[in-house]
Subunit: 304 residues, 2 copies
């Protein structure tokens, strides 16, 4: 069997096309109001610069006004919080993300920072309250971007999720935990694995849907995969490659050339989960703008 | 093999003994301040009355001042919210719970109600934000009582959780979801099952630790259980029993007489998870009181 490759790049493009349409309708309905996203960066890590450029480009393509807010490496936690308060309070700004990891000379509590973004503008979906919503199946907030992207990729295969066995490798706040919750509310039977899991390759082999988010280059081998399974690879790992100008290339957490021989569907790296993460951020930003513009139209004291 | 019976009643008693000691120390340190719990009830369901009596009795035994706040069946959502605001603001009250289900003539959104309890006083641990904390392994809030009780029961067997296969039947906000999160952060490899799960009895048989919270009388049979497993039965189901004065008796979600032949450890119903739920509520109330009294001693403007 040779797996179908799930093209994140193409799916993201089609989502961005829909969003461009939605933005122009929104502008028509609300006398030109444009969704606006603030991307806050502390310091200047090169990988962060690359991710931010991708987000700015997608936003421009869709018609979202994206503002890159740069804070210097000597920015303190208090200064960052002050900036976030100003953005939270600004009626012009609909979505706010803080690019992680923070590149500061000072100690900054990143958990505190993600919780400092107003829940109405938390388009990365990383507030603790929002994580709680996702865990209990309440989707009235914002679904975190990478996990939402994983679900979108699975759905686009046409295979239904309900009743399937899903295995998630990784339990991080950003990827593993919420992706497992989302799969649970799509009615899969979900197993979460992590670094303390025994017999990992036995468990992965029970998965009809396997989502991998561990940050270990090509750790998941072909022999770990159930024939015909859907394999979603979130990993982004640089490995040395002398044939490249940069001296390195990116690989996922799954050994792609092996997976493609066993799986039914598989995402490549790059070009799989990455583009979807950006597309889901854009979707959340449009949603945030729509909700906030709608709220402006409500009576100030709605009847209970 | 005949399973060891895990006596929730005895374990709860020993926890309550420790708490009584802690309360008397707290009173000595804080010129007599006593932990105080408000139990809010709307209407007068008989099962709720029974649960509330158990909570009041445990509180009295420990030295917690428990106040039973009764609201009539014609209480509206707004009236209930007003009462909760007053309790949230009262410096005398350390913990607040709202007994579910609400027995009101009016439509009341129970989700909104549990989220209206101040997160500092949410000793049932049912706030959405708190659920988010549990999901990502942050235990700085209050761990929900029944799930915390399940973990306590498992730990008291002496069997270590890390690296074990755990299966949770049920994904509710109150039991299934948080118990799965807690097991995950105790480093078990956790599978969550629900009504859309296929081959349920095959999956339960992989469990070294099986937690059942489905509300289906004796659905889990002996043949579903891995020999030697720990079985925690959260179910409380009344079934007809002509030999009882009341005409009924309580059974769990597990067929106890069968489970006891297969499992290594098993909880009875009643006398298993139930008493632990009450003990964990008391533990959270003492914790809430300690945190709030400590906050009174802090400088008003701590340095950042
Ligand atoms: N495509 C995108 O847009 C994004 C991609 N990523 C990528 O996804 C990957 C994961 O990211 P993130 O979740 O933030 O990473 P974290 O490092 O926060 O979490 C990694 C998780 O994997 C588990 N793990 C690590 N090693 C093993 C192992 N040998 N066996 C089993 N489990 C293991 C860890 O377990 P434990 O909890 O026990 O330590 C942890 O739960 C990375 O490659 C990252 O670059 C991340 C975000 C966005
Ligand atoms: N000891 C104590 O103090 C407490 C005990 N309880 C008891 O625990 C039990 C569960 O309570 P709670 O979680 O509130 O109940 P809920 O009804 O809210 O949730 C039941 C869960 O079980 C799942 N389920 C139902 N039927 C099946 C089935 N046939 N196969 C597989 N899964 C099934 C449901 O799946 P789906 O999501 O697909 O519908 C749901 O996730 C009850 O008996 C309750 O009385 C509850 C709280 C405290």
């Amino acid at each position: 069997m040779v797996a179908k490759v799930i093209s994140g790049t193409e799916i993201a493009r089609s989502i961005e096309d829909e969003l461009r349409q939605q933005v122009s309708e929104l502008r028509a309905q609300s006398s030109g109001a444009q969704p606006r996203l603030a991307i806050v960066q502390v310091g200047g890590r090169e990988d962060s610069n690359v991710y931010i450029r991708m987000k700015l480009k997608a936003a421009e393509n869709i018609g979202i006004l994206a503002e890159h807010v740069r804070l210097p490496r000597d920015c303190t936690q208090t200064e960052l919080l002050t900036k976030l308060t100003a953005l939270n309070e600004s009626p012009q700004v609909h979505g706010i993300i803080v690019q992680m990891p923070l590149d500061s000379e000072h100690q900054i509590d990143s958990h505190l920072i993600t919780d400092a973004v107003s829940s109405h503008k938390d388009v990365d979906g990383l507030n603790t309250e929002n994580e709680g919503r996702v865990a209990i199946g309440d989707f009235s907030g914002f679904v975190p971007c990478t996990p939402a992207g994983c679900i979108e990729l699975i759905k686009r295969t046409g295979v239904s999720i309900a009743g399937k066995r899903a295995v998630v490798l990784g339990r991080s706040r950003i990827v593993g935990t919420p992706v497992a919750e989302l799969l649970k509310w799509e009615h899969a039977t979900v197993t979460v694995c992590h670094s303390k899991t025994n017999d990992l390759s036995e468990i992965t082999k029970t998965a009809d849907i396997l989502v991998v988010a561990i940050g270990r280059a090509e750790m998941v081998r072909g022999s770990w995969i159930k024939p015909g399974a859907i394999v979603i690879d979130c990993g982004i790992n640089p490995i040395p490659d002398a044939t490249k100008k940069s001296g390195q290339r990116l690989v996922g957490d799954v050994a792609y050339s092996e997976a493609v021989q066993v799986a039914g569907h598989v995402t490549p790296v790059p070009g799989g989960v990455g583009p979807l993460t950006v597309a889901m951020l854009m979707r959340n930003t449009v949603l945030a703008a729509r909700r906030q513009l709608q709220r402006l139209l409500l009576p100030a004291w709605p009847l209970q």
